[in-house]
């Protein structure tokens, strides 16, 4: 029986439980009792007791089943098959048994393996059947238990509330645990990297060339992991992006809030926000196929030498991508400045521009700064545009017409292709990832602090 069907049956049982609980309570009420909670809450209580333990059981069972079956299978294998094998060989053999069980045979397998495959199949079948039986039993037992609790004084309403609260807590804990897991895996891999390459060399070294020989006889550099040029590339492209996005975003926000009438605003604002909905890979096309050639042609007509992967093209297009970020944050911040501030300035005889420059912008500054910081962290973490439009060579340059590379581009190039997962070259990606994570996290925390302080002022 498939898990989906099982889920459907449990859901149906839960619904039956709901009807039973409600009918039970209605019966109590009809008998002249005064109930603490209205009948539907009795129904919900029974339904939750029916559904939740059963679902939980299915999840745990699914997670544990393969391990348990593998262990049982290994224990049942004739000893000569597993004797003196490394864990890696054992897992290879398990894979072979499973392939045979699934009917994918390569050559003629050992008779012992074929027997094992049959055993594996039967173990699996038993396990699945047991899961169905246990789950349904749990659901029915849940209904029985919950119904036994029902009585006129039973506080079904409060109990349902309590159960829902736990459900919500579990969901938020899941989200937090996932984050922690991601951080942990990043830190562990980075640790492995930093045990091979000193932290100081990584953070302050000026030479980045991560090519290492895969085999001993290969001709390749020994690898240099000074990440400063890579960090610089990220910063440089982000700065170019902000130079584009900050004025355009901020000024369009000012126009939309203070000058545009309702009709213009209702057209222009959604148009600006469309920019935020464009997939970054499309921006990448735009940068590579339109902007970069344009900049190169234009530079050449002026007699400048322009790299085909110029920082200017990548940064400029990234800036366009970030415009809606800045403009929508600035828009919110300026709109949130109370009308009384504008009135106060106008009543003193200030013009519109004076009011905006000297009163509205200072008052909205914390909100704008918060938005800009979030935009910067978005720019730093942006991958697709730079993978397509920025270069691969790590150069320390301040010339926007040259190519630079960024942290995200390097992570991508380090991880694609056939590489061992324990070479410093691959591990360097995690070191870069950790630095990226820490810096964007710091920026986000800073931005949220700034925005929070600003909110406290006006609400």
């Amino acid at each position: 029986m498939s898990v989906t069907l099982l889920f459907a049956i449990v859901l149906a049982l839960a619904f039956v439980g709901y009807l039973l609980g409600r009918a039970n309570a209605s019966g109590l009420k009809a008998a002249g009792n005064s109930l603490h909670s209205i009948p539907p809450y009795h129904g919900y209580f029974v339904a939750l007791w029916c559904g939740l333990p059963a679902f939980l059981l299915v999840f745990i069972w699914q997670a544990a089943q393969s391990t348990v079956v593998d262990q049982l299978l290994l224990a049942s294998l004739p000893p000569h098959l597993t004797e003196g094998m490394t864990p890696a060989r054992v897992s290879l053999m398990l894979g072979e048994i499973k392939n045979v069980a699934a009917g994918r045979m390569f050559g003629t397998p050992d008779q012992a393996i074929i027997d094992a495959a049959a055993r594996y199949q039967s173990l699996q079948n038993t396990a699945s059947l047991a899961m169905v039986v246990c789950t349904l039993a749990a659901a029915v037992a849940g209904i029985a238990f919950a119904r036994s609790r029902l009585s006129p004084e039973f506080r079904a309403r409060n109990r349902v509330d309590g159960i829902l609260r736990w459900l919500l807590i579990v969901c938020s804990i899941l989200a937090i645990l996932t984050t922690l897991g991601i951080i942990l895996s990043l830190v562990i891999e980075s640790w492995a990297f930093f045990s091979r390459v000193p932290v100081a060399e990584f953070l302050f070294g000026l030479n980045w060339s991560p090519q290492t020989p895969i085999r001993a006889d290969q001709v390749a550099s020994t690898g240099a992991f000074g990440a400063v040029p890579v960090f610089w590339g990220t910063i440089f492209i982000s700065v170019i992006a902000m130079l584009v996005a900050l004025p355009v975003g901020l000024f369009s926000a000012i126009y939309l809030v203070e000058y545009a009438d309702k009709r213009v605003r209702s057209v222009v604002k959604p148009l600006l926000e469309i920019l935020a909905g464009i997939p970054t890979i499309v921006y990448g096309f735009f940068a590579v196929l339109t902007v970069a050639p344009f900049i190169r042609e234009f530079g050449m007509s002026l007699g400048l030498s322009v790299a085909s992967n110029s920082a200017l093209a990548a940064g400029g297009v990234m800036g366009i991508m970030i415009i809606p970020f800045i403009s929508s944050f600035s828009d919110d911040a300026i709109t949130a400045v109370p009308q009384s501030m504008r009135d106060g300035a106008y009543a003193l005889g200030a013009t519109k521009a004076e009011t905006i420059r000297q009163v509205l912008l200072p008052a909205a500054l914390p909100g704008i700064v918060g938005g800009v910081l979030l935009a910067v962290s978005r720019a730093i973490g942006e991958t697709m545009i730079v993978v397509m439009a920025a270069g691969l060579t790590a150069t320390l340059t301040v010339n926007p017409l040259e190519g630079v590379t960024t942290v995200t581009v390097q992570i991508v190039t380090l991880l694609i292709g056939d590489t061992e997962f324990d070479s410093p070259k691959t591990l360097a990606a995690f070191g870069l990832g950790l630095v990226l994570f820490i810096s964007t996290l710091a920026l986000n925390i800073l931005a949220l602090q700034v925005v929070k302080r600003y909110r406290e002022r006006y609400e």
């Binding site: 009384s340 009135d343 009543a347 200072p362």
Partner: protein, 286 residues
């Protein structure tokens, strides 16, 4: 007021700085005896889109007195107040008909720059609205944008004088660099009055200036209004009958967008000529 005065006054609004205009206008008016008319409105109607909020209001407001506008909520008194410094211009779909003359010059004349007008006609709002700047900068903002004084001792003097006139100097003189938003509500409102005074206006409009203040702060502001009357023409919108009785010399009663009655405050509160005024004052509606 003679024709000569009229052209002079309008010329001043257009050509000279706000301070000069204010000082000269005051010199002209002090030379005259009694309380001559400072603001003369005739047939003022205000529309928000299609909705008419004010119907043909005509009123003369005397110089260097306190005129109180009273009436139930939504009666148009704040709307009319905001016509006097053309603050209604900042509302998108609002249009004003009729004329309002200040010292004989129509402020709705296309030649008048509303920005300069607002420097002559200060305004204090219902809720204190100091800028999120220091106390000093709050006061210095107006003089700075009008080029009355540059930073330095001249500006220090304006700040001190304005704060003194607003009876706030002694409370804040040691913390001029602190944010104006950190003051108490009553102090903030006096800061806003000082801010309006700093650009040296002739007229100060007050839109329910005490409605967000506690009784003690209200008493201080009322005391201040009484002192300011010596130098400024004050128009105050208030919901409190007691306040109108305490601070004003003349009162105007608005009802449903119409001006019902204008009279000496004493007379209006003891012997109103219109039944609706009588009903409002005695608390039968509103």
């Amino acid at each position: 007021m003679t024709t000569l005065d009229t052209t002079e006054a309008s010329g001043m609004i257009m050509n000279k700085t706000a301070e000069e205009a204010g000082a000269l206008a005051k010199a002209v008016s002090t030379a005259k005896a009694g309380h001559e008319t400072k603001i003369a409105a005739s047939k003022v109607s205000v529309f928000y889109g299609d909705k008419q909020a004010l119907f043909d209001v005509s009123i003369d407001i005397p110089a260097r007195q306190v005129m109180a506008f009273i009436g139930p909520s939504g009666c148009g008194k704040s709307t009319f107040l905001r016509c006097i410094n053309r603050m209604n211009d900042t509302i998108d779909n609002c249009s004003v008909k009729g004329t309002i003359e200040i010292d004989g010059a129509n402020i709705y004349d296309p030649k008048i720059d509303p920005v300069l007008l607002r420097a002559r006609v200060g305004m204090v709002f219902q809720k204190p609205n100091p800028f999120p700047k220091s106390i000093y900068d709050n006061i210095a903002y107006g003089p700075r944008i009008h080029g009355v004084a540059k930073a330095g001792s001249a500006m220090d003097e304006i700040v001190e004088r304005s704060l003194q006139r607003a009876a706030l100097w002694n409370e804040v003189k040691d913390r001029l660099d602190q944010p104006g938003t950190g003051l108490s509500g009553g102090q903030q409102q006096r800061l806003c009055i000082a801010r309006a005074i700093a650009v040296n206006p002739d007229i100060i409009l007050m839109d329910e200036p005490c409605s967000a203040l506690d009784p003690i702060a209200t008493a201080k502001v009322e005391e201040l209004i009484d002192e300011l009357r010596a130098q400024y023409t004050i128009v105050i919108v208030t919901h409190s009958m007691q306040q109108a009785a305490r601070v004003s010399q003349k009162a105007a009663f608005f009802h449903l967008g119409n001006l019902i009655e204008v009279d000496e405050t004493d007379k209006m509160f003891t012997n109103p000529s219109d039944q609706r005024t009588q009903d409002y004052i005695t608390g039968r509606f509103g």
